[in-house]
Every structure is written in structure tokens, then in C-alpha cells.
């Protein structure tokens, strides 16, 4: 079954470029293309998509329409994934987008849409309930965070920070191990150490992972 995608983007150039890219993919069915918030809501309601690929700023206000649509989707279509496209690595937007959960959510910089593999990977990931955060956004957060001396994140070793930034991108332990050329067991140890240093109590593993990532994002506020 192809992944049913609704695209919302007010920039003509990006919209037409993405449309062209996605129309060549056999496992993607681009069911609707919108230019503003209201038409996006209508498309979601009529097309019932698996994934919404949306710009953040669109008419009518040009501020945070994409984030508001994603938040609304949690209530109306909880199984639908969202790939948010952002012009700049903005921690405030990332936090607003992810604060109620990272499942089925991807935050990508627009420059990534030029890379078809990257865009398709994000669409497929959120369709399965996974999450992807653009490495540049993560990097912005890590830099800002590590400058905050009082932050619990300041207690992390550089290696633990690397592990956490990969978790924030939605990677599994195996993928983190691959990325950093470590054993999975070593990654688990780092993660346990991160949880301890961030003061996250024993709970479900998935819950603690999300908490660690959100803590990472939250101190941007």
C-alpha cells in the first residue's frame, strides 16, 4: 500500500519541486497539494492521509500554521505522521512541534528536501510512527544547551552528548551504535548514564528516551 501524503507549502518553487519528486515514487501517493492552512485542514479531512508534509509558515498569518495543523492532527488523526519543513533551524519551533510527543513527527530543514532520499526516509519513518529531527536543528540545540552551565546536560560527556543528539534524531540503539562505531552494549551504557545524569526516574525505556530528548529541547525556552 502506498503512503498517502498531503503536501502543504506556500512557496511555489518548493511546492512544485516536491510535487515532482514525490510523483516519481511508486510507494508514495500524493493525494493533495495545498497552499494555506484552511485548505490543508480540508485536505486532511477529505483525504485522510498517512502523512502530512507541511511548511511551518503559510497563509493566513504566515507564522506557525504547520505546527498548529500538526497539533490538531493529534486529536483528529492520531495515527497520521507529520513531516515539518522549516526554513531555519529554530529551537522554539522544534520544541512547540515536539512537546506533546515525538512519535510520528519529523522536523526537517527545507534544504533537505532537495535530497530525495532524506525526504523519503523521513516520510517513511513518520508513517511508521518513528521520528526524525534534522541534525542541524539538533546541533543548534546541543550548542545552546551546552553553553548553559547550570543545565543537567552540561554534566554529559561529549560522547554522551553525541549519543543523545542521535536519539533526538529518532535513531534506535543499533543505529546509534552504527553511527558512532560503538557496540550496542556500549550505547546502552551511555544511555543509562545519560538518564542518570538527567535525573530521569526508572520508567518505560521509550518514555525515558522521549523525556531525555525533550529535556534537551526544553531548555531552549
Amino acid at each position: 500500500m502506498p503512503i498517502r501524503v498531503v503536501l502543504a507549502e506556500d512557496s511555489y518553487l518548493v511546492r512544485e519541486g516536491v510535487r515532482r519528486l514525490l510523483e516519481t515514487e511508486p510507494d508514495i501517493d500524493l493525494v493533495d497539494v495545498c497552499e494555506d492552512y484552511d485548505s490543508l485542514l480540508e485536505a486532511i479531512s477529505s483525504a485522510d492521509p498517512d502523512v502530512v508534509l507541511t511548511d511551518i509558515r503559510m497563509p493566513p498569518t504566515g507564522t506557525d500554521e504547520g505546527i498548529r495543523a500538526a497539533e490538531r492532527l493529534r486529536q483528529t488523526h492520531p495515527a497520521a505522521g507529520v513531516v515539518l519543513l522549516s526554513q531555519y533551524a529554530d529551537p522554539a519551533y522544534a520544541l512547540a512541534f515536539l512537546e506533546h510527543g515525538t512519535e510520528g513527527r519529523a522536523y526537517l530543514l527545507k534544504e533537505r528536501v532537495a535530497d530525495l532520499d532524506h525526504l523519503l526516509a523521513a516520510i517513511r519513518e513518520v508513517a511508521e510512527g518513528g521520528s526524525v529531527i534534522d541534525p542541524k536543528v539538533v546541533e543548534t540545540l546541543v550548542t545552546a544547551r551546552s553553553q548553559a552551565a547550570q543545565s543537567p546536560l552540561a554534566r554529559l560527556t561529549p560522547r554522551e552528548r553525541e549519543v543523545l543528539s542521535l536519539l533526538a534524531e529518532g535513531k534506535s540503539n543499533a543505529a546509534v551504535a552504527d553511527g558512532l562505531v560503538l557496540s550496542e552494549r556500549a550505547v546502552e551504557k551511555h544511555i543509562n548514564s545519560i538518564f542518570a545524569k538527567l535525573g530521569l526516574p526508572e520508567a518505560r525505556e521509550a518514555h525515558r528516551r522521549v523525556k531525555a530528548v525533550l529535556l534537551f529541547l526544553a531548555e531552549q525556552r
Binding site: S11, L13, V14, E16, G17, D115
Partner: protein
């Protein structure tokens, strides 16, 4: 007699934007994409070869910048118009962008058929 469409060269190092610009031109009967280039040097060579009337030029390119490429193209082919396209905010544009001989600067987010049409019409000498 139908007017001949304006031949356009698209210059961008990202295939995505070249393809997107082609998609924009495809819906504009007054324009036709005649070629693409991914670097400033290649743009200069392609102008020589294809004689486009309009070049859509990205600023940030491998090798010489779009601004330098515009300068060279305008010096060798004063009849070829160049429109700069990039993701710079207007206030962050490199200073020499305004002096390289381009007819206009447009943010990629604002590039659409009506805008291109208007800039081209305004650029044309009357009569």
C-alpha cells in the same frame, strides 16, 4: 504571429531547485527552459553555447559565485538578462549583488510565475 518564448538557462547547484524551476517555467507559455548549469563556470559556458535571453542564477554556487558569473555573463553578453535567486533575506544580500548587472533579486520562496512575468515585463524596454 505568436511571440517566440523567452529562452531561459537555469543555474543552481541543487538538482531539486533546477527541477523546481523547470516546473515553474513549464506552466509559462512565454518562457522555455533551454538548459541547466550547476556551477558559475558552467553557467558562463552554457550562455556562450545556448544564447539564452534570461538566466535564473543561484548566488551560492561551487567555484565562482552566481554574482561573479553574472558579472562575466553581462560583460560578454549585454543582451542576456540575469535574475539572481537565493535564500538570502534582501537585507543580508552580499553588497556586490546589487552591482553585478542582474535585473532583479528574488528570494526562492517568492519565485512564482506571476512574479517572474512581472519582473520580465518591467525589464523590457518599451516600444
Amino acid at each position: 504571429m505568436a511571440t517566440r518564448p523567452v529562452p531561459v538557462l537555469i543555474v543552481d547547484d541543487q538538482a531539486f531547485f533546477r527541477s523546481a524551476a523547470r516546473a515553474v517555467l513549464a506552466v509559462m507559455p512565454g518562457f522555455t527552459a533551454v538548459g541547466e548549469a550547476w556551477s558559475g563556470e558552467e553557467a558562463v559556458a552554457r550562455v556562450e553555447e545556448l544564447s539564452p535571453e534570461l538566466v535564473l542564477m543561484d548566488i551560492h554556487l561551487p567555484g565562482i559565485s552566481g554574482i561573479e558569473a553574472t558579472r562575466r555573463i553581462r560583460a560578454a553578453h549585454p543582451d542576456t538578462a540575469v535574475m539572481l535567486l537565493s535564500t538570502y533575506k534582501a537585507e543580508d544580500l552580499p553588497a556586490d549583488a546589487r552591482e553585478c548587472g542582474a535585473i532583479a533579486y528574488l528570494h526562492k520562496e517568492d519565485f512564482e510565475p506571476e512574479v517572474l512575468e512581472r519582473i520580465w515585463t518591467d525589464h523590457q524596454p518599451v516600444g
